[in-house]
């Protein structure tokens, strides 16, 4: 048991017998009231989203999870296939629970996956990831308006809005939560 005030993004909780991962957490103080915490939870098994509001002093049932290194192999349209790097055991994670992750994870790369009793609950994606630009439109000559942008596609298939000076083959840093361009990576 933990206090609801201790809940953070990524905390694993047992709600009505089902494991959920906290994907959003916001504190609310109703006018003149004591502190509450509002969370959005996701069931990794079904993709179901849940909204709960607790008093920060409420007890909630947290579950002990462990993180293991898993290599992302490929996806078959329904499931992501991973291999546990320690045991070489292969696992499947439903793609529907992790929207757009196929555009963020590169095949062959290793990610931390959160497990609860052998059940994968969460794939941990760094907030900032470097991608290579696979396709980019050529900037139109003479178009020097500041703030002008265009779409590029990364080597993983993610479409990102970038400044017009970004060229094919260059590397860019992207916020994986908002899918927004941060900066060009020179080295």
């Amino acid at each position: 048991m933990i206090k609801a005030g201790q809940i953070d993004k990524g905390t694993a909780l047992l709600v009505k017998g089902q494991p959920f991962i906290v994907v959003e957490r916001e504190f609310v103080n109703p006018g003149k009231g004591s502190a509450f915490v509002r969370v959005r939870l996701k069931s990794p098994a079904t993709g179901q989203m849940l909204r709960e509001t607790y008093k920060t002093q409420d007890n909630v049932e947290d579950i002990t999870v462990d993180d293991r290194d898993c290599q992302y192999l490929y996806n078959d349209g329904d499931n992501f296939h991973f291999m546990l790097t320690e045991t070489f055991e292969q696992i499947e994670i439903p793609m529907s629970s992790f929207e757009d992750y196929q555009f963020i994870m590169k095949e062959g790369e290793t990610f931390r996956v959160t497990f609860w009793e052998h059940q994968p609950l969460d794939i941990q994606i760094p907030t900032k990831v470097i991608f290579e630009v696979a396709e980019a439109e050529e900037a139109i000559k003479g178009d020097t308006v500041t703030g002008a942008t265009k779409n590029v596609t990364t080597d993983t298939g993610l479409v990102v809005r970038v400044p017009i000076f970004i060229k094919q083959g260059e590397r860019i840093l992207v916020n994986t939560e908002t899918k927004e361009y941060i900066e060009r990576v020179n080295k």
Binding site: G31, K32, S34, A35, R51, T53
Partner: protein
């Protein structure tokens, strides 16, 4: 550093000052450090220490709201007043809409009640809004009583759930886990309100949610004929933006509020070890026969700027905000 946000704040505050001047409000400046506070058990306080070689050194407190200093000015001047001032709430979590230090606009209108303050606030927002403020954040405001909101989104009759037992039954019917331990009516109400009512409030226009349950104790007057207080909250874009009271002027009610709330505050904080501020019961003495009828509104400037400027969090526009300071320090 967000230079645009700095400019927008300057623009908004200038427009507000012009509007208040035009409407005949007096701008006042009161301290942020105080020897005593109004007892509010749910607001944790910041304390600091005054060191003196000549007087007794003592603990002082950062204000959670300027009310304690503004009401004596109303008593002395009998005029409508306002100010824009930093306020401090400890233990406040750092999130999208919270920072332990924030900027508050507080205005008191003499001769007005909470209903009048709705029109005043509509006018203020309409006349001072930043350019390109989205329509759904601009007046006219929609109005709904708390009881109506409970009926609509929680499907229960607030008039008939005045007892804790009745309210717990509704909470249970809605599927909430309310701890078996004794819990106040207010606390159970907030569970229901935050889970079922607030998330469903309409957002197409700013919303005035009015007539709060009398069990939520504050310095807003009670209605004579129904179990509610003359108080409203303004929601815009789904978040709480302002709070208004038809201010209590009965000296004895204010004194009792002080005694009861301070007792609760001391009991709770003695257990947690949190700051227990001094209070001064003589505050109630300003409410003599001469103290004018007035309505007070407190509005969060940072949240208003966030909404009007199209920012996602108040951290995007509060310079040197807590999350930046704390992250740097780690």
């Amino acid at each position: 550093m967000n230079i645009k946000a700095i400019e927008q704040r300057s623009e908004l505050l200038r427009a507000m000052r012009n509007w208040f001047a035009q409407e005949g409000y007096l701008e006042v400046s009161t301290p942020i450090i105080s020897t005593n506070l109004i007892p509010e058990p749910t607001i944790a306080n910041f304390a600091t220490h005054y060191i003196s070689e000549f007087y007794a050194s003592r603990e002082l407190y950062l204000i959670p709201s300027p009310e304690i200093h503004m009401k004596p000015i109303i008593a002395a001047t009998k005029r409508s007043i306002y100010q824009i001032i930093p306020c401090f709430r400890n233990r406040e979590q750092i999130g999208s809409y919270h920072n332990p230090e924030f900027s508050m606009l507080e205005y008191y209108t003499v001769g007005a009640d909470d209903t009048d303050s709705i029109a005043i606030t509509e006018e203020l927002i309409a006349k001072t809004a930043l350019e390109n403020t989205p329509e759904h954040l601009l007046p006219p405001f929609r109005k709904m009583s708390v009881a109506e909101a409970c009926h609509r989104y929680g499907e229960f009759d607030l008039d008939k759930t005045q007892s804790i037992a009745a309210l717990r039954r509704e909470a249970k019917r809605l599927g909430l886990d309310v701890p078996a331990a004794a819990e106040s009516w207010e606390s159970v109400f907030n569970r229901i309100f935050l889970n079922f009512v607030e998330p469903n409030l309409p957002q197409e226009k700013p919303l005035i949610l009015y007539d709060y349950p009398q069990q939520i104790v504050c310095l807003a007057k009670k209605h004579r004929d129904r179990p509610y207080r003359q108080r409203w909250e303004l929601y815009a874009g789904g978040i709480e933006l302002a709070n208004c009271y038809n201010e209590e002027r009965d000296k004895n009610i204010v004194k009792n509020y002080y005694r009861d709330q301070y007792a609760i505050l001391v009991t709770e904080r003695a257990q947690t070890g949190e700051v227990i501020p001094d209070v001064d019961l003589s505050f109630a003495d300003i409410f003599d026969e001469e103290f004018p009828q007035c309505s007070g509104v407190a509005l969060g400037i940072d949240r208003l700027l966030m909404l009007q400027g199209g920012y996602k969090t108040i951290g995007d526009l509060i310079l040197f905000n807590f999350s930046a300071i704390i992250a740097d320090g780690m």
